[in-house]
Amino acid sequence: MNILRTTALAFCALSTTATAQTDPENWDAVTAAANGQTVYWNAWGGSTQTNDFIAWVGDRVSEDYGVTLEHVKLSDTADAVSRVLAEKSAGQNDDGAIDMIWINGANFAAMKDANLLFGPFAESLPNWALVDVQGKSVQSDFTVPTDGMESPWAMAQVVFIHDTADLAAPLGSMEAILEWSSANPGRFTFPQPPDFLGTTFLKQALIDLLDDTTVLSAPVGDNYDEVTAPLWDFMDALTPTLWRQGKAYPQTGPRQLQLIADNEVDLAISFSPGEASAAIANFQLPDTARTFVLDKGTLGNASFVAIPYNSGSSEGAMVVANFLMSAEAQTRAQNPDILGYGTVLNMDALSTNERAAFDALDLGIATLSPAELGTALPEPHPSWATRLADDWAARYGVAQ
C-alpha cells in the first residue's frame, strides 16, 4: 500500500500544472479577472443551513465582485478529490469542473501531496490580516502545514448534544458516558466510521482515555497497538449498549439529530458548537436540547477552502475565499439562527463596529460560551484517524 501510494504521488509530482492563473499578490488584478467568472464550489450539501449560507455568500459576491457562485452539493468531499484526480489523469489541466472545495484533514493532505492544488494563495488574501493565527490552529490542518494552499473559514469544536428531558446532566468523560450508556442501553450512538464525525468520536475517545496524548501528534507507527488498547477495551464495553446494539449506525451527523427528535437516542456528538441551537430554531430538535464538552476538553479544527490546480476561475475562487474571511460573513456564520459555526477571526484585529456585531450575537440557548468551550484540543496526525477508522471497521463493521 505504501509503495503504491508513493509511486502515485511521484507520478503526480512529475505532471506540470496550469499557469494561466493570476498571481494572488496582485489583488486588483485578481478582482478584475474575477468579475464575470463562475465559481463551482464543491461543498458538503447535507445540511440545509449550510446550503442557505452558501447561497447567501453567492448573492453577496455577485453584488460586490460580479462573481457567480454555484454550490455543487457533495455527500462526500472525496468525490471532489476523485474528480480532480480523474481530470489530471486524463490530462485536463485547464478549466476543470471544480473551482473550490470545502476541505480539511486527510482529503487536504491527499490533494496537497499529489500536487492537485493551486497556490499558495491564502496568506495573500486581504482578509488574512483579520485571522487569528496565534490563537487558532489555521496554519496547520490535522498537523499537516497548510503552506497557504487552503484558506480557513470556520472553526469547529466537538461538543455532545443531549436531550435534557431524558439526560439532564452533562457527562464529564468517556467513562461517564460508558457508565450512563450501560445503565440506559440503546440511547446513544455515533455516525458509522469512516464518516468524519464517527472517526472524530473514536479520536475523541482515545484522547480522553489516554494520559499522554503527545504520541498522537506523530504519524502512527509500531506503537499503535499499545496506544489504542484502552480505546478498544472501552469500545468493547460500549458497543453492546449502543442504539440497535451496535448493529446499525446513523450514516452522518445530522441523522443523529433526527434520532434525538424521534426520541430514539438521547446523546449525540457534533462538530459545531452552534449546531444544536440552529437545529432548535429549525424545528429539527426539541427545545430541551443542550450541549456539553468533556472535562479534559474536546477536539477542535478548522474548515478550509482549497482551489484545484486546474481551476479556470481561480481568481473568482480567491475572491470568494477572501469574502468568507470577512467580518460580515463570519458574523453571519456564527449566528445560530443561520449557521452557528465558530469564527476564525481575531477579535482584536476587527474595527469597533465589526466587533460590536460579534458581541451582539445571541449565541443560542444550546450553545456554550467560548469560556465554557475552553481551548480546543489539537487534532492527531491524519494517519491515526485512517488507522482508527479501518480498525473499527474490522472489529465492529460487520455485525455478528
Binding site: 500500500m1 503504491l4 501510494r5 509511486t7 502515485a8 507520478f11 463551482y40 464543491n42 450539501g45 447535507g46 445540511s47 440545509t48 442557505d52 454555484e70 455543487v72 452539493k73 455527500s75 462526500d76 472525496a78 468525490d79 478529490v81 476523485s82 474528480r83 480523474a86 481530470e87 489530471k88 489523469s89 486524463a90 469542473a97 486527510a106 482529503n107 491527499a110 440503546g186 458509522q192 442504539w243 440497535r244 446494539q245 448493529k247 446499525a248 449506525y249 450514516q251 452522518t252 445530522p254 441523522r255 443523529q256 439529530l257 433526527q258 427528535a261 424521534d262 426520541n263 430514539e264 424545528f283 429539527q284 426539541p286 485512517t386 474490522a394 465492529y396 463493521g397 460487520v398 455485525a399
Partner: protein, 564 residues
C-alpha cells in the same frame, strides 16, 4: 427502393450508442481490478485486489445479501404481480389498481424508500399511530427494522417499487396476448379464475415479461439508492461498498472497488443463469400441473392474498408519499405525535428556487435522452422488420448489459473516457450518459409490443397501396400509441431517477432533482427530503399520466386500441 436515409444501419448505431460507453467503462474497470491503474502509476498485472477483497471481513455477508435480497425481492414481486392479475383482471378493483400504477411508478426509488423507512421504523408513523395508547411505548423500542442485518426492510422497499413496474409491463403485454378470450374459455370449462388464468395466460405473458423480470433481478442485486436508505450498514450490500471504496481518497481502494465490481457482475450473471434454470423447472412442473386438469386450487384464498398484497404495496408507497408531504410542511414533529406540532411553509419557500432551477434541468435532460432513445428504438425495430434482421440471443444480452452491469462498475471508467475524448462536462455528455441507461428501458418496454403487432395489418395496408414508410407512420405507430407512450414514460422516469451518471459525468456542473435529493439524504433533514421527494415524483408522474390517458382520449372511439 425509396431514396433517402436508409435505416438499415440504425441497429448498429443503437448498439454502439448503448454499448460503447459500457465497454469502455468496463475496460476502465477490468484493468484496475487486475492492478493496472495508470493514474496511480500501477502497471503490474496482479490479483492482489481480489485477494484484498476476499480478505475484507464483510465480503461473505455482502455477497450473500446481494444474492438473497435480489432473489427474494424478484420472486415476491413476481408472485404478487401474478396473483393480482390472475385474481382480479377485468374487475373494477383491477381498474382501480391500474389507475394507481402511474403515481406508484413515478415515485422515484429513493423517495419511496424514505417514505417506507419512515413508516416501518420503530419511531415511525405506524408506531406513532398506535403509541403509547395501544403499545405502551413511551420511547420507541430498540428494534432493528430499517437497516436490519438480513436486508428484509430493503426487500420490502424493492418489492414496493417493483410490483408496479412488473404490473405495468404485464399490462402492456396482456394486450398483445389475447388474454380475455383465453380467460373466458377457461371459465367456461369450469376453471377457477386464478387457476384458469395461471394455466392459460400466464405462460404467454411471462414470455413477454421475462426481460423485465431479469432487469428487476439485476437491479435488486445491485441497487445503491434503496440499499443506502433501507439496507444494512454492517456490512452493506456489495454495491454500496463499491461506491464507498470508489470515494475513498486512497487510490489503492479503487483497485479493490474494481475487483468487487467484477465480482458483482459475475454474481448478477450467475443469478440470471440460475433464474433461467428455475424457469425451465417451473415450466416442466407447470406443464404437468396443467395436464392434471385441476379446476381450482385455493382460488379464493389466492385472490384474497393477491388483493391484500396489492393493497399493502399501494398503501405503503402512497402513505410513504403522504408522509414525505407532511414532513415537507412540518414544524417540530417528535415521537409519539402522529401529526406535527405546527405546520410551516419554511421548507418549501427555502427550497423552491432551487427546485425550480434543478427541475428545469432534470426535465430537459430527460426529454432529450428519452426522445433520442425512442427515435433509435423505433428505427431499430422498424429496420429489424423491414430487413428481416433477427435479434439473436447475443443481441438480447447486449441490450441488457447497461442494466446488468452495476453503475458503480463502469461509470468511473466512462468518466475518464469522456475526459480523454475532450468532452467537457456539460449537458451533452450527461444526456449521452443518460441515454445509455434510458435506451435499454425504452427498448425493453417497446420491443415486445412492437414485434407482437400483427403484421397482417401491414400486408393489407401494403396491398392497399401504402409504402413501407406509410405503413409505419399511418398504421403501425398509431396502433402502438399506448406502448410507445408507456416506453416514453419509462424512459423519462429512468432519466429523472439517475444519480451516479449525472454526478460523475456531469462533473457536478449539472444538478438534477435526484442529485440534490441524495446529497440531502446524507444530511438526514426529513423536511428537505420531503420537499425534493415530492418534486421528483411530480417530475416523473406527468408522462405516466399521459401514457395512460392519451390513448384513452385519442382512441376513445376505438376500443381495441385503448386497452391493454
Amino acid at each position: 427502393m425509396r431514396r433517402g436515409i436508409s435505416i438499415r444501419w440504425l441497429p448498429l448505431l443503437t448498439v454502439l450508442a448503448m454499448l460503447g460507453p459500457v465497454v469502455a467503462g468496463l475496460l476502465g474497470t477490468i484493468a484496475p481490478a487486475f492492478g493496472y491503474l495508470p493514474a496511480a502509476n500501477m502497471t503490474e498485472r496482479t490479483v492482489a485486489p481480489f485477494v484484498d477483497l476476499f480478505r475484507w471481513g464483510g465480503f461473505p455477508h455482502a455477497v450473500m445479501l446481494s444474492v438473497t435480497t435480489g432473489f427474494l425481492a424478484t420472486s415476491l414481486s413476481l408472485l404478487i404481480t401474478v396473483l393480482i392479475i390472475a385474481g382480479w383482471h377485468g374487475t373494477r378493483a383491477f381498474n382501480l389498481i391500474r389507475r394507481l400504477l402511474s403515481p406508484l411508478l413515478s415515485v422515484p426509488h429513493a423517495a419511496s424508500a424514505f417514505g417506507i423507512a419512515f413508516l416501518i421504523t420503530p419511531s415511525g408513523w405506524v408506531a406513532r399511530a398506535f403509541s403509547p395508547w395501544l403499545t405502551g411505548w413511551e420511547r420507541p423500542p430498540d428494534v432493528l427494522i430499517v437497516q436490519d442485518h438480513w436486508g428484509l426492510a430493503m426487500v420490502v422497499g424493492l418489492v414496493a417499487k417493483e410490483v408496479p413496474f412488473l404490473l405495468l409491463m404485464s399490462l402492456a403485454a396482456l394486450g398483445q396476448v389475447n388474454a380475455k378470450s383465453s380467460a373466458t374459455i377457461a371459465a367456461a370449462l369450469g376453471y377457477g379464475r386464478v387457476t384458469g388464468w395461471l394455466k392459460t395466460v400466464f405462460p404467454r405473458v411471462y414470455a413477454q415479461i421475462r426481460l423485465p423480470v431479469y432487469v428487476v433481478l439485476a437491479y435488486s442485486m445491485s441497487t445503491v439508492d434503496v440499499a443506502i436508505v433501507l439496507g444494512p450498514n454492517t456490512p452493506p450490500t456489495l454495491s454500496v461498498q463499491i461506491v464507498k471504496w470508489m470515494s475513498d481518497p486512497d487510490l489503492a481502494m479503487r483497485l479493490e472497488a474494481a475487483a468487487a465490481a467484477l465480482v458483482q457482475l459475475l454474481l448478477v450473471i450467475g443469478a440470471l443463469i440460475w433464474w433461467r434454470g428455475g424457469e425451465i423447472v417451473v415450466g416442466i412442473l407447470g406443464a404437468k400441473w396443467v395436464m392434471r386438469g385441476t379446476r381450482s386450487f385455493g382460488d379464493n384464498a389466492l385472490r384474497v392474498v393477491g388483493l391484500g398484497a396489492g393493497v399493502l404495496v399501494c398503501t405503503g408507497v402512497l402513505l410513504g408519499l403522504v408522509s414525505l408531504g407532511v414532513w415537507s410542511v412540518a414544524g417540530l414533529w417528535s415521537y409519539p405525535d402522529v401529526l406535527p406540532d405546527s405546520l410551516s411553509a419554511r421548507s418549501w419557500s427555502r427550497h423552491w428556487g432551487n427546485i425550480f432551477d434543478t427541475g428545469i434541468t432534470t426535465l430537459l435532460i430527460a426529454v432529450c435522452a428519452t426522445f433520442i432513445a425512442v427515435l433509435l428504438t423505433l428505427g431499430c425495430l422498424e429496420a429489424e422488420y423491414r430487413f428481416d434482421f433477427t435479434m439473436s440471443e447475443r443481441g438480447v444480452f447486449l441490450l441488457y448489459l447497461p442494466l446488468m452491469v452495476p453503475q458503480t462498475a463502469f461509470l468511473p471508467g466512462l468518466q475518464t473516457l469522456m475526459l480523454s475524448a475532450g468532452l467537457k462536462s456539460g449537458f451533452v455528455p450527461v444526456v449521452l450518459a443518460h441515454l445509455v441507461f434510458v435506451l435499454p428501458y425504452v427498448f425493453l418496454s417497446l420491443s415486445d409490443p412492437f414485434r407482437a403487432w400483427d403484421v397482417r395489418f401491414g400486408t393489407i395496408a401494403a396491398a392497399l397501396g401504402r409504402s413501407a414508410n406509410g405503413v409505419f407512420w399511418r398504421v403501425r405507430l398509431p396502433m402502438l400509441l399506448a406502448p410507445v407512450l408507456t416506453a416514453v414514460a419509462v424512459g423519462f422516469a429512468a432519466s429523472v431517477g439517475q444519480y451516479l451518471p449525472t454526478l460523475l459525468v456531469g462533473g457536478g456542473r449539472l444538478s438534477t432533482l435526484t442529485t440534490e435529493a441524495v446529497a440531502l439524504a446524507a444530511g438526514g433533514d426529513r423536511r428537505a427530503i420531503g420537499v425534493y421527494g415530492l418534486a421528483q415524483t411530480v417530475a416523473a408522474i406527468l408522462p405516466f399520466a399521459a401514457a395512460l390517458l392519451l390513448p384513452q382520449i385519442i382512441w376513445r372511439n376505438r376500443r381495441g386500441l385503448s386497452d391493454a
